[in-house]
């Protein structure tokens, strides 16, 4: 069966877009083929800086013919119906229709419609221009004289040529003829921009790829990546060193060259006084080069590895010299930044935060840092950190944002803070906390263990969360511009992985109030700018704000219990935490119904306890006792809900011991009492396993009750009392979980 070759040849495509573009091209073309009834055998797409290419092999040469019978109106039916039938089927008269007899309904007209399949090459000529026109580049542009007209083609960069052929391996393939905004398809492409710029005539994928290789273009990015990494390792190894592997950089570089040539250069030993991260960031981000290290010590050596796009006539001497000069200048800049940073202590930079807006509704960075500091001091005893160290670390945690090195290399934020803190003689825990308070940065990142880092990390995230809740900027759907989901997950992991028992409802109140005060002040400042005091319309609003600020300030100072508005925000934030925790537990394989069963209990705001409960519950339900108790509870619940519906009432309230007629009733009542007491005590001691065992002891009494006792007794009073007893089973189990939420 024939194959398709498609190449879209353009000016340089941004490296970061190439892989997705190749994938999109394959998907769009093959989806269309399938939609046209053309099932292909295989497809592969490629991208280089200057071309997207696609090969689809084993496509049928034609679409299958389509035969369809369409049922029409009754013979002798209304004229309008017959006219409609002819029009819809394309028949010129009823003579062309067949008549079919139906024993029940009489005679009907039937149209036989035959749609011959089209030649695939014609289908391709129709679908490909549409795909080019609607290609989903993240950013696209117009160019040239045609851009003066409306409807001119948009592409990622100017598109110059389209190669498109279709045919059998054994024959000369045909050009799939189409044109997009003046660019006509053909079978001519071009080689490497500098080493083989001539036109190349291609027939099909096999000779296309081979001819490109002759013309110094490696089509497959995988192959370019392999060449780069192998040669780079080799070059480093030959000098007794090791390549600092960097897959992200490797991907990018593979998208910057069609013909990778790996070279090595030097820089001045003196630059090694800089922290290795600065050297790496300089060389990597600005110059897209790899750094090299000593395999034993892990320290950088004064070498770097660059990847050129040409085999230069002087074997790359000029290229190496040029790159060395640029890297020298860049490292000089970095050294200059680093040395000037060292002249100012971290704390002496903080005044600048007073004029830096964190969020227009939440005030300045300086206010935020004050909040984090106060919160960190409050959290410190809970996590076992020294209060003054936690304060100090919180105060300095963001100061490196104001240094020149971090200004230049934002990814060094945190790491530079720790470095500068160490250099200025801060306590070790304080210094580490600056970098570590950002951790975990993602699901795979580690969670800090040092108490000061934990305190600041929690304070930072909790402040962010309560702050955005205070100004009602919560994540919605897929929108989470302030990464609040990540912040919540960070809090969860910090608490759980450090086994920290924290009642969030209590902990959240103080920072929430603090944030509310700052939000209020920010609003007041805004109104002041609009001269609200002098404006009679705005003056009352201003006065109300000022009064409200005083009120929250007092609550903050005297630690008043949560007011309804505050409680509402906290409840909402808690349910956000609960959702994040559910996601997290589910990802770790916990049953979501067990998580729900625990969260359904009142006042669950200690995440560590929730998780412990879920674990204990899971184990319990795996045991026979657990399964049977669950079955018994479910049975009780089912009976109750039926009877409740019947009587339109609930059977709550304590059963009357005087109304027990059978031993099994009395035994169950006693067992419930005991289970409640024991489980309650165990829960108080956070011993969920014992609480579950206490529940398990209910089981024989429950089983016996259902065996021997008929709930719906003739005596209405006895029936009511028995239903109340069933309700007690349900109530007792709520000491550990809401069993009605558990499946199975």
């Amino acid at each position: 069966m024939p194959d398709l070759l498609l190449e879209l040849f353009s000016e340089e495509i941004p490296a970061r877009m190439q892989a997705k573009a190749a994938d999109d091209l394959r998907r769009m073309v093959t989806d269309k083929l399938i939609a046209e009834g053309l099932v292909y055998e295989g497809a592969k797409a490629f991208a280089t800086p200057r071309r997207l290419a696609l090969t689809v092999h084993g496509i049928p040469a034609r679409q299958a013919d389509l035969k369809e019978e369409r049922k029409g109106p009754r013979v002798g039916g209304p004229e309008a119906a017959i006219a409609g039938f002819l029009k819809a089927t394309g028949l010129s008269s009823l003579d062309e229709a067949k008549i079919q007899s139906d024993p029940k309904k009489g005679d009907f007209y039937i149209a036989l419609i035959e749609k011959p399949g089209r030649a695939t090459i014609d289908v391709l000529a129709e679908i490909l221009p549409v795909i080019v026109r609607t290609f989903p580049w993240p950013k696209s542009m117009r160019w040239g004289a045609r851009s003066a007209r409306s409807g001119s083609l948009s592409w990622v960069r100017p598109l110059h040529a389209i190669t498109c052929t279709f045919g059998l391996e054994t024959e000369e393939p045909d050009v799939v003829k189409f044109a997009v905004d003046g660019i006509e398809s053909g079978q001519t492409t071009f080689g490497h921009r500098f080493m083989a710029p001539q036109a190349i005539s291609v027939r099909r994928f096999e000779d296309y790829e081979a001819k490109l290789l002759d013309a110094k273009v490696v089509l497959d990015s995988e192959r370019r990546r392999d060449t780069i990494v192998t040669d780079a390792r080799q070059l480093a190894f030959a000098q007794g060193f090791e390549l600092f592997e960097d897959p992200v950089l490797l991907d990018e570089i593979a998208g910057l060259v069609e013909w990778p040539v790996v070279l090595m250069g030097d820089f001045d030993q003196d630059f090694l006084v800089l922290p290795g991260q600065i050297i790496r960031s300089t060389i990597r981000n600005n110059q897209k080069c790899f750094v090299v290290r000593n395999a034993e010590t892990g320290f950088l050596v004064p070498k770097f590895i660059m990847v050129a796009n040409i085999e230069a006539t002087d074997s790359g001497r000029a290229i190496v010299a040029g790159n060395e000069r640029v890297i020298r200048a860049r490292l000089s800049d970095a050294k200059f930044f680093y040395e000037s940073d060292r002249k100012t202590k971290l704390e002496d930079r903080l005044y600048k935060f007073e004029t830096t807006v964190f969020h227009e509704k939440l005030g300045t960075q300086a206010e935020r840092i004050t909040r984090i500091e106060e919160l960190a001091a409050k959290i410190a005893p809970v996590v076992g950190a020294d209060v003054s160290k936690a304060r100090r670390a919180a105060r300095l945690a963001k100061a490196d944002l104001l240094t020149e090195v971090v200004g230049e290399f934002p990814e060094l934020q945190g790491m530079m803070g720790t470095h500068y803190a160490q250099k200025q003689g801060e306590d070790g825990e304080v210094a580490f906390a600056i970098e570590q308070h950002y951790q975990p940065k993602g699901p795979d990142d580690v969670v800090p263990r040092l108490p000061v880092s934990v305190a600041v990390g929690l304070a930072d995230r909790i402040d962010t969360l309560v702050g955005f809740w205070a100004i009602d900027e919560k994540p919605t759907g897929s929108k989470d511009p302030y990464a609040l989901r990540r912040a919540a997950l960070g809090v969860i992991r910090l608490l759980l992985e450090n086994s920290l028992k924290v009642h969030l409802r209590v902990v959240l109140l103080f920072p929430l109030r603090f944030a509310l005060v700052h939000a209020n002040l920010a609003r007041q400042r805004q109104l002041k700018q609009e001269r609200a005091e002098e404006n009679p319309q705005l003056a009352p609003q201003f006065a109300a704000l000022a009064a409200h600020a005083t009120e929250i300030g007092n609550r903050l100072r005297f630690g008043a219990p949560a007011q309804p508005d505050e409680a509402r925000i906290i409840a909402d934030l808690l349910s956000f935490f609960a959702d994040r925790l559910k996601v997290q537990l589910r990802e770790q394989g916990a049953r979501h119904d067990l998580v729900d069963a625990v969260f359904a209990l009142e006042g669950q705001d200690d995440l560590l306890m929730v998780v412990r409960r879920v674990e204990a519950l899971g184990k319990f339900l795996d045991s026979d006792d657990g399964k049977n108790l669950l079955a018994g509870t479910k049975r009780a619940s089912n009976i109750l809900s039926i009877e409740e519906k019947k009587d339109k009432r609930a059977f709550d309230g304590a059963p009357d011991a005087a109304l027990y007629k059978l031993d099994e009733e009395k035994a169950l009542a006693k067992a419930i009492d005991q289970a409640k007491r024991e489980a309650g005590a165990a829960v108080m001691n956070e011993d969920f396993t014992s609480a579950m065992s206490a529940m398990a002891r209910l089981r024989p009494a429950v089983d016996a009750f259902f065996d021997k006792v008929k709930v719906n007794d003739e005596d209405a009073k006895v029936r009511e009392n028995r239903l109340k007893l069933l309700n007690e089973i349900r109530a007792a189990t709520r000491a550990v979980a809401d069993f009605s939420r558990i499946e199975g």
Binding site: K139, W143, S147, A318
Partner: protein, 311 residues
């Protein structure tokens, strides 16, 4: 190029580099303009680019533009950063299909041999929030050094470009450092002569860098600059309003260029205020927005002038 005397060669002489580029683009058919006589932050601000990029009429021009970035001053001490430097600017409207080749040939003209050097087009999308302009293109790298910016203008002064222009901006000092093989801009040979006759970039500009850095960071009269900003803004609006020949019908404009000068003035006053550190982050946004509004109004006026409109 062999015909050039040694002191005129781009790899020996800063002015030789400028002259070679001018000659190359003159040969192509560009109008060779002189620098705009106002303080601007980049060659793009020259009305020969900003305004001429608008409207359908073809336009090919090249010029050197002294560019002032008050914040980038380092008292002449940083080898690569200056508050005043030169850009060589080329604008081709509409962008010709072989514009990349034209650019590469210009590099060859100044002595960069593409068989010897690694020339790369690396993604760099350009946006000027103050000009209400954006485009897609690249930074052009030579052996890892950015030597030019290459942009296909999509929108300028809030107006869609139809047709699109291609803009090339050569950072002359950096390019010259590369060609002359020196590490610091101040070391550049300016006139290409040797010995007693040699004039270096330091001889020409070091004192200016020191004086202007002092001025920009420490002394520039902020009260005056705030006032200048306001006055330029008002004047711009006034000229724009007065320039409509037919009053409220707004069909033809007669004073887009003088109005645009005031927009440039406001922009420079803002840059100086920014360097003096008297504009907070929030205010900064609003100043940028105010300049953009002026630029957009000027663009709107321009497309109603003789040169800016369709016929």
């Amino acid at each position: 190029m062999d015909a050039l005397p040694a002191h005129m060669r781009p790899e020996r002489s800063f002015q030789g580099l400028i002259l070679t580029l001018q000659r190359y683009w003159a040969d192509y058919g560009c109008v060779i303009l002189q620098p705009y006589d106002m303080e601007v932050g980049a060659g793009t601000f020259h009305p020969a680019t900003t305004l001429r990029a608008l409207g359908p009429k073809p336009w090919n021009a090249a010029y050197v533009q002294p560019s002032r970035r008050p914040k980038d001053g380092r008292y002449g001490e940083n080898p690569n950063r200056l508050q005043h430097y030169y850009q060589f600017q080329v604008i081709l409207k509409p962008s010709p299909p072989d514009i990349q080749e034209l650019y590469l040939k210009s590099l060859a003209a100044i002595g960069i041999d593409s068989r010897l050097h690694d020339i790369r087009f690396v993604e760099d999308d350009w946006e000027s929030p103050t000009l209400g302009a954006w485009g897609l293109g690249w930074e052009c790298w030579c052996d890892g050094m950015e030597v030019s910016q290459f942009t296909y203008f999509q929108q300028v002064a809030g107006v869609e470009c139809a047709p699109v222009s291609g803009e090339l901006t050569y950072g002359l000092e950096r390019l010259a450092c590369y060609l002359q093989g020196v590490d610091s801009i101040m070391e550049l040979n300016f006139n290409g002569r040797e010995g007693a006759e040699k004039v270096s970039y330091r001889d020409v500009f070091l004192q200016a860098e020191q004086e202007y850095s002092r001025h920009n960071f420490e002394v520039a009269d902020t009260a005056m600059l705030f006032e200048q900003f306001k006055m330029a803004e008002q004047a711009c609006r006034k000229y724009l309003e007065a320039g409509w020949r037919d009053g409220s019908k707004r069909r033809e404009h007669l004073m887009a260029l003088p109005a645009y000068d005031q927009c440039i003035k406001a922009s420079h006053a803002f840059n100086l205020l920014d360097a003096r550190g008297v504009i907070s982050v929030t205010e900064r946004q609003s100043y940028i927005l105010r300049v953009r509004e002026l630029a957009k109004a000027c663009g709107e006026a321009w497309v109603h002038t003789e040169t800016g409109r369709a016929n």
